[in-house]
């Protein structure tokens, strides 16, 4: 009998599913089959930066329609900060393309 997966394993599977839909999956085409090289979701206790980037972009895309997003994001042309509901900085983004995309979305 197959052992039931823990929530962490289910979460990993779900995040991989998200990456396959929204990320940039690499496919190796062999003669009669294809293989997908998937990211390892957790590197130690941290998120793979590729997955983190997708989650951040998802959060920013939804922030304009989310009440919780209002006031939780500080943005300047150089830096975008996502704060916790209590105002503590959680994520600092210096990727110019993400910042510009967010500013364009807000305009």
């Amino acid at each position: 009998m197959e052992k039931e997966k823990s929530s962490l394993e289910k979460l990993e599977a779900k995040l991989k599913e998200m990456w396959r839909e929204k990320g940039d999956p690499h496919i190796i085409a062999a003669k009669h089959t294809e293989f997908v090289v998937e990211p390892r979701v957790f590197l130690g206790t941290k998120l793979n930066p590729e997955i983190l980037k997708l989650l951040v972009m998802n959060y920013l895309a939804q922030s304009s329609s989310q009440d919780s997003g209002v006031g939780n994001i500080d943005v300047t042309p150089e830096k975008l900060t996502i704060n916790s509901p209590k105002g503590k900085p959680l994520v600092v983004i210096r990727d110019k393309s993400i910042i510009q995309q967010y500013l364009a979305q807000r305009a």
Partner: protein
């Protein structure tokens, strides 16, 4: 190809393939990533040699389509410079991986990471719930309850 480099990636099969754990003689101790690559090459070779292999029936894309796409890509521009394969012990370390994406986070514990996934994953079906459950499980594990 760099896409095979570890530790940030892992090779997963799209379609079912029979497991093959044949030992590879004469190579001494090899790491898991190398073993996966050897197993993969060996398995592809088996499929190629056996026209009755059941795996052929479930292939996702015909070879002709793959080759046609490759030809089209080759015709559209100069061939890319091949990148050498990096194996597990030669791959980038965690510090290098973190520096690739200019996104900094203010915590490093698993509990913090799961909380972050829960918050950032809002709107994606199942992710906030699973992150919350996983965080609770980790807390229970930490307390020695589970």
């Amino acid at each position: 190809m760099a896409i095979l480099s570890a530790p940030q990636t892992q090779l997963n099969r799209v379609s079912p393939v029979r497991e093959n754990h044949s030992p590879i003689g004469g190579l001494g101790k090899i790491d898991v990533a190398s073993q996966q690559i050897f197993d993969l090459i060996k398995r592809i070779d088996e499929i190629d040699k056996n026209p009755n292999d059941p795996f052929r029936a479930v292939k996702k894309k015909p070879l002709a389509a793959v080759l046609k796409a490759a030809d089209a890509a080759a015709a559209s521009g100069p061939a890319p410079t091949p990148t050498p394969v990096k194996l597990a012990n030669q791959g980038p370390n965690l510090h290098e991986i973190e520096n690739r994406t200019p996104i900094e986070i203010s915590g490093s514990s698993l509990k913090f990471t799961l909380g972050l996934v829960r918050m950032l994953g809002k709107g994606i079906k199942g992710i906030p719930e699973l992150a919350g459950k996983a965080a609770k499980e980790q807390t229970l594990l930490g307390q020695g309850v589970a």
